[in-house]
Structure formats: structure tokens, C-alpha cells
């Protein structure tokens, strides 16, 4: 086993670790929006790291770039998806927590309505 395969396995192992973190966070976190945080950040990094690991494992020029495209697409689209979900659910008042220390957004929405 060369040094390249070890690096690839380290990347993949990190991806699995972040996947476990995502799962635990999605189940344990108390609030809807904090769950969105777990999904947005950690899941994206997990997907990117796994695709990088596979690209290092394969180690051919064009093929590795093509595999990295998978991670790049996840990196672009997953924060966007979470943004769309958060915006939609806040606007439809699907899961507004009652106790909130700072909330500038509802004032903005109220101004928009008038």
C-alpha cells in the first residue's frame, strides 16, 4: 500500500466521520434551524472529502478531475438548497421558534407586507 492510498483512505475516513456527525446532529439537535446547520455544513464537507478521496485513489488526470466535479457540484448546490429551504419555511411560518433573542427578519417581512 503506497503513501497515495493511505492519503486517500484518510480522506474517505474523514468523510465517514463527518457523515456520522451529520446523522447524530440531525437526530439530537433541538430546533429546526439548528438541524439545517448540521445538514448544510457538515454534509457538504463530507461529500467533498469523499469525492476527493476517490479522486486520489484513482489518480489519473482526466478521471480525477471528473470525479472532483461531483464534489464541486455538491459544494455549490447544497448550501443553496439549505438556503432555499430555510427561506421558504421561514416565510410560510412553518417552524418559527417562539423564544428568540434577536429577530430582525420578521420586521423586514412585516415591512414588505405593508
Amino acid at each position: 500500500m503506497g503513501i497515495r492510498l493511505i492519503i486517500a483512505y484518510i480522506f474517505m475516513g474523514g468523510a465517514i466521520f463527518f457523515a456520522i456527525v451529520t446523522t447524530i446532529g440531525l437526530i439530537r439537535f433541538p430546533d429546526v434551524y439548528t438541524r439545517i446547520h448540521a445538514s448544510a455544513v457538515v454534509l457538504t464537507i463530507s461529500a467533498v472529502m469523499l469525492s476527493f478521496g476517490v479522486a486520489i485513489y484513482v489518480w489519473e488526470f482526466y478521471l480525477s478531475i471528473k470525479i472532483m466535479f461531483v464534489g464541486l457540484i455538491f459544494l455549490i448546490t447544497n448550501p443553496l438548497a439549505t438556503h432555499a429551504i430555510a427561506r421558504a419555511s421561514y416565510r410560510r411560518k412553518i417552524a418559527c421558534p417562539e423564544v428568540r433573542s434577536v429577530d430582525d427578519y420578521s420586521k423586514y417581512l412585516g415591512r414588505d407586507r405593508e
Binding site: 457540484i73 455549490i76 448546490t77 443553496l80 438556503h83 432555499a84 427561506r87
Partner: protein, 240 residues
């Protein structure tokens, strides 16, 4: 449905399931006929058709007539849907999602289109082909009408363009078949007009051409289906 009927349905279905499991084990596995066709295709398909992908070789060369029937079925479905939903107007207002989503999709859309062209044109070298690439082409229209609003999609591709692509694709497919009759021996014969080496993009004769035609036809057909489904319905007082 009452509870007795419910229980009756469940009992009948479980009896059916037991019979199916018992009888499915008696299906004959390899007969001589199946083995003959299988060995013929796996031994000769690459040299006969020039396609490295055996599934594409079957779909667009050996049984291209079936693909013609399939695209006829899709043509019928599109015609039926357009006929059923014809007397409706388009929604006028069009506001999509937030500008962040719009801008990012603007940067992503050319690559989706390029990827669909890649899937279509590499149908005989890697998995893919006309159907799969065509569905991705149709998905671009779906993306536009979701992210930017349906009016944007209407301005970019007018329904006339879509209809032209759909009918033109069907006609070109039949035209390729007739070309097989004229220059070769039978309907939809694979004309190996460019005799390049096997494995290059243009090697498989008319298979890439049929792939391209079917891809654009299916993409346009799905876009038409989607487009006529999102049209606005009448209110009740208009109808009754």
C-alpha cells in the same frame, strides 16, 4: 372501505403472493435459444455495429425498430396530453426563487447542457444514449420554469421550437430508416459510412445520429408535457 373488505383484500393478496413465490422458482433459466442469441451478440456486436456498449447496439441497431415504436408511444402520450390540456392560458406573473438561487443556476446551466450533449454523443462508448440525455435536456426546461418562473422558459424556448424539435426528430428518425433502405438493404440498416477505427466518437455509423435525433426528440417531448401541465386551469364559473 369497511374493515371486513380490507381484511379480505389482505388475505387474497397474501395467497397470491405465496403462489407467486412458489411458481417463480420454476421459471426455466438458460434455454438453447437464449444462449444462441446471447453468444451471437457478445461475439459479433462490436465488429458488426462498431458500438462498444452492447445495450446501445441492441437498442439502436439490432432492434432499432423497437425504439421507433417506443418513440411513437411517447409521441402519442405527448399528443394526448396536449389535446387534453389545450384550452388553457398561461400564467402571466413569474417570480421565481431568490436571486442567489437564480444566479447560481445561471452559472450551472451551461454545464448541465454540455453534460447532456456528452451523454447523448457518447452513447456507444459509455453508459448513456439518447433517452437518458434527452431526459436531462428536458430537465433544463423544468429548472427554468421552477427557478426563474415559467415566463422565462417561454421566452427562451417558444412552444413552436419545441414542437418543431419533437416532430422533426420523429421525421428524421424515419428518414434515417429510409436511408437504410435506399443505400443498404433493409429498414434502419446501420450504414458504416465513416470507416474509422472502433472506439472513436464517429465510428459506429448511424448509431450516433439516431442517438442525437432521439435525444432532441425526447427532450422536446418532455418539455412539451411539462409545459402543458403547468398551464393555468380555468376557474369554476368559467367552466360551468
Amino acid at each position: 372501505m369497511s374493515k371486513a373488505k380490507h381484511i379480505f383484500v389482505v388475505i387474497v393478496l397474501s395467497l397470491l403472493g405465496i403462489t407467486m413465490v412458489i411458481n417463480l422458482n420454476k421459471i426455466p433459466g438458460n434455454t438453447d435459444q437464449i444462449n444462441f442469441i446471447y453468444s451471437h451478440i457478445t461475439n459479433n456486436a462490436v465488429l458488426e455495429t462498431g458500438s462498444l456498449n452492447f445495450v446501445t447496439a441492441i437498442l439502436y441497431d439490432y432492434r432499432a425498430y423497437d425504439s421507433l415504436g417506443e418513440s411513437t408511444i411517447i409521441f402519442g402520450a405527448v399528443s394526448g396530453i396536449v389535446l387534453l390540456l389545450s384550452r388553457k392560458t398561461l400564467p402571466v406573473s413569474s417570480h421565481g426563487l431568490s436571486f442567489i438561487v437564480k444566479r447560481t443556476f445561471g452559472m450551472l446551466t451551461p454545464f448541465i447542457f454540455l453534460f447532456s450533449l456528452y451523454i447523448i454523443s457518447h452513447g456507444h462508448l459509455s453508459p448513456g444514449g439518447g433517452f437518458q440525455g434527452g431526459v436531462i435536456l428536458g430537465a433544463i426546461s423544468i429548472i427554468f420554469s421552477i427557478v426563474y418562473g415559467s415566463e422565462f422558459d417561454f421566452k427562451r424556448y417558444s412552444p413552436t421550437t419545441k414542437t418543431l424539435l419533437e416532430t422533426g426528430g420523429a421525421l428524421l428518425f424515419i428518414g434515417l430508416g429510409l436511408a437504410g433502405i435506399i443505400f443498404g438493404g433493409y429498414f434502419l440498416e446501420n450504414l458504416r459510412f465513416l470507416n474509422t477505427e472502433i472506439g472513436s466518437l464517429l465510428s459506429a455509423g448511424s448509431i450516433p445520429l439516431i442517438n442525437t435525433v432521439i435525444g432532441f426528440k425526447i427532450g422536446a417531448g418532455l418539455a412539451i408535457i411539462f409545459y402543458s401541465m403547468i398551464q393555468k386551469t380555468f376557474k369554476e364559473e368559467d367552466k360551468l
